[in-house]
Point group: C2
Chain length 358, copies 2
DNA sequence: TGTTACTATGTTTGCGCAAACATACTATGG
DNA sequence: CCATAGTATGTTTGCGCAAACATAGTAACA
């Protein structure tokens, strides 16, 4: 009839709350602003002001409070502060993945911009699952963050609705192909796919192959793929073969898919990879098998990751501003930049890097 | 005479708090547990129990509360919960860097283990600065986290002292060469450097070179370097040359340093790199310049990053369990595992991967 | 049938802080 | 010399929740 859940144990304090010596002994009470205030001979409110550097403060008071605080080992309690005040100085961040360099660079940008503003990110990883993303994002809301950063513009209905009516700033990043909840920061993957198609068509290639991974999950790669193949077909060229695995992308997967394609019957003139990791794997395969690039087969990746610079040949790819997108999104949700009244989309430039593999 | 700081503006509520309709309209009051309780016809405390799945609850009540909560768009306020209760269900994480794959893998492990436990990580990046680390970690304490995860065992004196007397769990990760504040999870870099030295000595190499980066900051790389060079010297071999840049490590830097060494006078038989990125750069240089590896020069890296698997030659390296360390540390600070009364060090195995480059 | 143990709820209270609103003091100018 | 603006502090109050402590109903058993 009823759910049973473990009862929480009662605590074991022997004496009902007793103010003990400030430091050193165990079982000590954690000092509060009031303790600091008493020691410094000021009011609790003054301590609060000193901690937050807000309002008018004489130098004398400031140093007295700092001394007292130091002496007691006082640590500001932001939970209480957030409850009493309005702001929590937290932002929520949900990314699909961290293994992928792209997202750790984005996160780098976010963390950098946030900490410039004294704001800390609380963090979740969705593993490309909309359900997980939704759960995480909703959980993060419980911390009353100033804002939330999500990846992509596809989210569960419930999440979209909750966030839309939440009053906090929402930044959706890495994609602008669709309507954002609040403001999105990124670029058009459709355009990026199309541009690479045009670039390769202009080079004279007509027989294409595609290598991708996690297509069911990585909707942005899928968008590039679709507009890429549409564009080449519109020009009378064709996708002779493709390999799309459900594994997470990696150099190794790229290498294996490339080998499979080049051992197959439908030999392409050029392979378009969903990202640079896969493309680098392709190049490694060609190097190992003495296949000359781009003469025997040309290669193109996506993202412009810096490790490409060290490869024996520069891979043709699309440069994307990942760090900058992270920075802009964090600035936005922390209120360092204002909401653009005209546009809900902040579109960043992407550009083809014409490398030596095409 | 005195510090002036901008006064905060007063708010602009026209009517003194008025309960408006639950959803849809702007300027609405954010619903609280009491609102949910009224709608569900129960007490606030019962709502609290439902939210936290704690205590005894009848199925009827649970669904009524859920319905009411849904209807109002209620979002649990963890700030208040953390203040009233004991636990904050947050952990603090400070890492030196995110660009480095090593730390994003560690973070992956942390995030995974933490979210298994319903705990969210709050996050900071120290950029390898002890001062920044200290500031960040102390700031994170303001959120009353269950625990804190830091990198390495070298920290500012103040941070060590504060944390030691803080009662919360502290995990120091990636290094066990020294006394931890609480418990450390990692491996001995001294041993790792020594083992690679022995491995290479056994292969017969006698003339060594070293390539490193950010030596002043990356104390763990420095430890490997020191014990590596000590070990080879003890065997009568020598470090004929080295390149240590202050740049962050990257494949490109590795490539450049390798070129510089191989163009120099003191030609080594083998180059030991501070990490795999640098080593991969070295291999790239050799590939590009048709230098045969390991005949003309042997190479060894550190970490065992997965992207090595796709390179034309498997690089000799030391495999380190980064993800596992992150997982173990997160489990520890979230209380999923207990503090080991015997040992303050959880030492993980590292193992030499004998590749094709040595 | 009463006693006990369990199950399921409610009531009171205070966590630590910052907003809002005083208050008091100091310079400045007419 | 007083009004005024600016500067520097203090007092009261309540944010939203969960611990602690009731209380009341129900089942189990002698």
């Amino acid at each position: 009839m009823s759910s049973h859940v473990k009862k929480s144990m009662s605590n074991n304090s022997k004496t009902p709350k007793k103010i003990t010596s400030p430091l050193g002994s165990k079982d000590k009470r954690i000092p509060t602003m009031t303790d600091v205030a008493k020691l410094a001979g000021v009011s609790q409110m003054t301590v609060s002001r000193v901690m937050r550097k807000s309002g008018y403060l004489s130098d004398d008071i400031v140093s007295r409070v700092h001394d007292a605080s130091e002496q007691l080992g006082y640590v500001h309690n932001r939970l209480a502060g957030g409850l009493a005040g309005a702001d929590s100085s937290l932002i929520g961040v949900v990314l699909p993945n961290l293994q992928n360099r792209v997202f750790s660079e984005v996160l780098s940008g976010i963390v950098g911009a946030a900490s410039d503003n004294g704001v800390q990110p609380v963090f979740g990883v969705s593993d490309y699952s909309q359900t997980t993303e939704s759960t995480l994002a909703l959980d993060l809301l419980a911390w009353r963050p100033q804002g939330l950063i999500l990846s992509g513009i596809e989210h569960s209905k419930k999440l979209r609705e909750t966030l839309a009516s939440s009053n906090i700033r929402i930044a959706e990043i890495m994609d602008t192909d669709g309507p954002p909840i609040d403001t999105c920061f990124g670029f058009s993957h459709r355009l990026a796919g199309k541009e690479m198609a045009i670039h390769l068509l202009e080079k004279g290639y007509r027989k294409f192959a595609y290598v991708g991974s996690q297509h069911a999950l990585d909707l942005r790669a899928k968008k590039r793929y679709k507009s890429f193949s549409k564009t080449i077909q519109a020009e009378g060229a064709q996708l002779v073969t493709q390999r799309i695995t459900e594994h997470p992308s990696s150099t190794l997967v790229g290498r294996e898919c490339t080998e499979s394609i080049l051992n197959g019957d439908d030999k392409p003139e050029v392979i378009y990879y969903a990202n640079d990791d896969l493309a680098a794997g392709g190049l490694m395969h060609c190097l190992a098998k003495q296949i000359t690039v781009p003469e025997q087969v040309a290669l193109a990746g996506f993202n412009g990751l810096t490790f490409l610079e060290a490869l024996p040949q520069r891979i043709t790819t699309t440069r994307t501003p990942r760090f900058e997108i992270g920075t802009a999104a964090a600035r936005f949700v922390t209120g360092q930049t204002t909401r653009d009244s005209k546009s809900k989309k902040q579109v960043f430039d992407v550009s083809i890097i014409a490398g030596e593999t095409s």
